[in-house]
Symmetry: C2
Subunit: 140 residues, 2 copies
């Protein structure tokens, strides 16, 4: 049995971004650029990317990072983008990348739940906890 | 502006699977086979897969499906696997694939949150709601 040296705690952000710019979130190229840059801004190491059109008008994509994954699925006809950022380890700052991506989508507001995953009481029975908030991106 | 024909509602399952078989969840090949089969059982169409070793002992992987994505990150040294299943549309049954995958990992119990994403009150301001439960996988 290998030694337990890395706690399996992870931070998973579930984001509904509203009021996005439809020209941006309908573009596979732009959405991919934004998510890859978000990974870099978070300090994550990019392993692979997979982006494509998401019928009828949107984009679907995943950036696999060494510390887990970032994904998005967009609905330009609703100015809406769903994102999730899941990272493990202490060397990444997912919130930095997340806020960058939401702003780059042109969102006016977002509904965010941060899930702390891989929690246990020392008994290897794992659970998660969460906190939810709204984040506005107004003009200033 | 394109017509709004597909509501952006999605079902995202966040799963902590405990008591998994470390021989299974340490194998990139086995974990990939299980997740791809889970996608097929859900009725999802697989677009791409990306699986690799997840240091120190685990596996990290994402299956991009036409209806969104399935991912896992495993810690065999804790008999623990984190999974998420995110699907949109009415033609998939993510719970079928999810339960298959958790059982195939050999889990004894799992802590699951189902997040309903892309909800709005007709105002294009999106949010999510969730429900959490424990699922035991005993001998029978």
């Amino acid at each position: 049995m290998p030694k337990k040296i890395h706690k399996p705690i992870g931070h998973h952000y579930i984001v509904e971004a509203s009021g996005c710019d439809p020209k941006i979130i309908a573009s596979v190229e732009k959405v991919q650029q934004i998510l890859v840059k978000a990974a870099e801004i978070s300090g994550a190491q990019v392993w692979s990317v997979s982006f494509s059109k998401f019928p009828p008008y949107g984009v679907s994509g995943v950036v696999v990072i060494s510390e887990s994954h970032i994904s998005t699925h967009t609905w330009p006809e609703y100015n809406y983008g769903a994102m999730d950022f899941y990272t493990c380890g202490d060397n990444v700052d997912p919130e930095k990348g997340l806020f960058y991506a939401v702003e780059a989508f042109g969102a006016s507001t977002s509904h965010i739940t941060e899930i702390t995953r891989g929690l246990d009481e020392g008994d290897d029975v794992f659970y998660h906890s969460f906190v939810t908030w709204e984040e506005d991106f107004g003009e200033d």
